[in-house]
């Protein structure tokens, strides 16, 4: 399982390491560390995501945190965010690219994260690859529904990836 945890560390050297050690020693796999260093604070909030294969090991890690005086602000199972890659061909700019992006972003849990676009000729159709982050797998259907609705309206060709 993938755990998302917010902890608070003292702003002294070596503290982060002290927080990561227990995860490593129980065989956890650290996925991301976000260090939110705000000024004039003696405590630093840190957001960690890690993978661990059992509840028992997670319990052990949390006990270790208690021993080490690391306070846990929030803990939960991290949803696996997925990135969907789609190709688009058509009059992407002329049909209001901003509107296309906005309407994708309106789908809750979907966010256009990256967009590369090429035109061969201003008169001709352009081509693009969209990367859209979805907060979890269930959003996929809604996202594609919206995408195809836009595509029909603006006469765009959608090229899905093989896994979608």
């Amino acid at each position: 399982m993938r755990i998302s945890i917010d902890i608070e560390l003292k702003d002294v050297p070596g503290e982060l390491l002290r927080a990561l050690e227990p995860i490593a020693s129980y065989g956890g796999n650290i996925v991301s560390i976000v260090h939110l260093r705000e000024e004039k604070k003696d405590k630093v909030p840190v957001h960690l995501i890690f993978e661990i294969d059992s509840q028992e090991k997670l319990k052990k890690i949390l006990e270790e945190y208690e021993k080490r005086d690391i306070s846990v602000l929030k803990i939960g199972e991290a949803k696996r965010r997925i990135v969907v890659t789609v190709g688009v061909v058509g009059h992407i700019i002329d049909t209001d690219l901003m509107d296309t992006i906005d309407r994708i972003n309106e789908v809750e849990g979907a966010l256009v994260e990256d967009l590369s676009l090429r035109m061969s000729d201003p008169e001709k159709e352009s081509s693009a690859i969209f990367k859209v982050v979805l907060s979890d797998e269930e959003i996929k259907e809604k996202f594609f529904e919206r995408l195809y609705e836009i595509a029909r309206e603006k006469d765009l060709l959608i090229i899905k990836s093989i896994s979608d």
């Binding site: 058509g90 060709l157 090229i159 990836s161």
Partner: protein, 339 residues
């Protein structure tokens, strides 16, 4: 020794390729399979020849005259202006090799040929996908009703084993979905566009000059050919009662070199993919990760089976060309192996 009397209906590229292979393999088939395959009639649009046919002479006739009825006059071979249907109705034989052009609109003349063969208790082996894409269920039922075999491995993916592979080699395993490239021409075009960064119309013209693409390329590039093969897979492998009308089809006409370049920069290639699962039959261009088994180049065909027990299984092969004859041959052999 089992003698098998075969009628060849349609003596174009595939028919002649088959005849050529048979001239070289006859002894091998006798020795290894105890089968003596005899071509008792050949029909094309000019008419029919029947009797004690010499395949080498028949091939020479096509090369020199282009019409089978111009076969040299000799007593042991008779000629008739009757076409395929008359030949099937009137000439005694065990098996019909149906090799006329694929027609996706009404399946003819292949559909009538196949139904006539079944009515006359003749097995059918074919590479013609038209009738199957339109009337699979009816053909299957008619064959069963008359107690004969209906084999069509060559109609999907040419020499690439797919139908018999799924039904026999993967027997007992449930096939959840199939994705594949079932059209060599579009694969050639997309591969070339990817490599040379040129627009579709230029590659298409070149493919036509090389004889890879037809003069009317719409069957290929608009995805219709892929769709008809998908229908055959759906029916034969997955027991889905579908016809070509049930397939959502998008071809590759709108694919630009710019899209291909962008995809490449991101680790993808663009391929025309046919996909079938329980409630979906779809042909569309898709982004395929460069390292994915579906990424095969040139005119190759590929199919990935997603199964419950065997996991993912991939087959790759030549989707068209004279290699297709291997599928016809194995279908014929398999009919007599279990009889």
């Amino acid at each position: 020794m089992k003698e098998v009397k075969v009628q060849i209906i349609g003596f174009g590229f595939i028919g002649q390729s088959f005849a050529e292979v048979l001239t070289k393999r006859r002894e091998y088939l006798k020795r290894n399979y105890n089968l003596d395959i005899k071509v008792v009639s050949i029909s094309d649009i000019s008419g029919t020849i029947y009797g004690d046919i010499d395949l080498i002479k028949a091939l020479r006739t096509m090369k020199e005259k282009g019409r089978i009825v111009d076969y040299p006059n000799e007593a042991k071979v008779k000629k008739s202006s009757g076409l395929g249907i008359e030949a099937i109705e009137n000439i005694e034989a065990d098996l019909v090799l149906e090799l006329t052009p694929s027609n996706i609109r009404d399946g003819e003349p292949g559909l009538s040929h196949m139904l006539a063969a079944f009515r006359n208790s003749k097995h059918v082996v074919t590479s013609n996908k038209g009738p199957l894409a339109i009337a699979f269920k009816k053909l299957k039922e008619e064959a069963e009703k008359n107690g004969v075999e209906f084999k069509f491995e060559a109609s999907v993916g040419g020499a690439m084993p797919i139908i018999n592979f799924a039904k026999e080699t993967l027997a007992g395993t449930k096939i959840i979905s199939v994705q594949g490239i079932f059209n060599g021409t579009t694969n050639y075009i997309l591969t070339k566009m990817t490599r040379d960064n040129v627009p579709l119309d230029i590659v298409l013209k070149e493919a036509q000059e090389m004889g890879i693409a037809e003069r009317d390329p719409s069957y290929d590039i608009d995805g219709i050919d892929t769709a008809s093969k998908l229908v055959i897979i759906a029916n034969a492998v997955m027991d889905i009662d579908a016809t070509i009308k049930d397939v959502k089809i998008e071809g590759i006409r709108k694919i630009t070199p710019e899209l291909i370049t962008l995809a490449k920069e991101d680790g993808y290639v663009v391929k025309l993919i046919g996909e079938v699962c329980k409630n979906k039959l779809e042909v569309s261009p898709r982004l395929v990760p460069i390292s994915h088994p579906l990424n095969v180049g040139g005119t190759l065909n590929v199919a990935v089976f997603y199964t419950d027990i065997a996991g993912e299984v991939t087959v790759i092969g030549k989707g068209a060309g004279k290699e297709t004859v291997s599928a016809l041959l194995s279908d014929i052999i398999s009919i007599y192996r279990c009889r």
